[in-house]
Symmetry: C2
Subunit: 201 residues, 2 copies
């Protein structure tokens, strides 16, 4: 299998971290691919027309995307219990994954607004609206952390989201007033799967 | 169950269309809720901190989001085979769902850029980049349509995406040069589940 990847993409990190947790990295070739929301992504678009990483190229030519689909597929290739529970715990895990991914969606849009878009075309109300989503998501995470399972796809997604805020938005100081999240993240990000996939620009 | 919904949201439509297909509408109270990417969504944020619809409030107080999570949850409540296949067909269905959702992500961003954002702050390169994703996704859909299963979550997602283009981007004329998609959509959108959930502004 070949994973189209970027070391700065938190969604791609989620996939690679899951592959580490499930002991699958030896079966995956990681290929770094450039993407941008305003430009062509010639290494990616022929596989994923949305021009985004991650995308997973299977040996039979099938292409899977996006990160949620790839994570669940890879999870099923590992031995023993995986990170996508069945039964009632599934909906809690998947909703926490959606929370982490949604925080990231807002963070990426904020990053594009502040860094990619020419200064004269930036719109403060858009920036503020996305930051409000990030803040509300962080507050929800703070409330959820005490009851969060030790490891599932929701925990990985939330950790990738918090790691992205450290990487791109240190000035947001997300730990302030959120001691439970700070302590949980300190422990979770020490897992080998997270340490091996720390973001790089 | 209570579904936080908007008649203009294509993601909320996906959920309600699935509920129709699975015979579940009698068990769901639909509550219209206002959201905007730049403003508060006081009816939604207490349930989904991301401030987006759809969100599903279960009778025990649990809240599920986003549309993918809700669709899969509801699918499991219906009788008989559902729209989320197990086995090899699952990854094809989920990747087509991601394709439809990804087309919608680009279309929503284009809509916000063209309608919501003040004219002086619009950025042509952003608009062009999102339209390029829409176009590439449409071309992929045209290639996939001949082999698409009659009904699964991927088909519903793609139909909701094409319906949104009709609703908000008629000038895009997505049918031009895509006869297979046009014929497929004409048939699929006549399903009672799709007709009952046609977008309204």
């Amino acid at each position: 299998m070949k994973l189209l990847y970027s070391p700065a993409s938190p969604y791609a990190r989620k996939v690679l971290a899951l592959a580490h947790e499930r002991g699958l990295t030896g079966r995956i070739t990681v290929a770094t691919a450039a993407t941008a929301p305003t430009g062509a992504a010639p290494d990616v678009t022929p596989h994923n027309p949305l021009g985004k990483v991650p995308a997973l190229l299977l040996d039979d030519g099938t292409v899977l995307y996006d990160s949620r689909v790839i994570c669940e597929y890879l999870d099923g290739l590992g031995d023993g219990p995986g990170l996508f529970p069945q039964g009632p715990a599934r909906w809690d895990a998947l909703t926490r994954q959606a929370l982490g991914d949604g925080l990231l969606d807002a963070a990426l849009l904020t990053r594009y607004e502040r860094v990619l878009r020419p200064e004269a075309q930036r719109w403060a109300a858009w920036d503020a609206g996305q930051v409000a989503k990030i803040t509300a998501a962080l507050d929800r995470i703070e409330a959820l952390v005490p009851a969060m399972p030790a490891l599932d796809i929701g925990a990985v997604a939330i950790a990738c989201a918090l790691g992205y805020l450290d990487f791109r938005f240190p000035e947001l100081a997300w730990r302030e007033g959120r001691p439970a999240s700070a302590a949980w993240y300190a422990a979770f990000s020490a897992r080998p799967a997270m340490a091996a996939t720390a973001p790089r620009g």
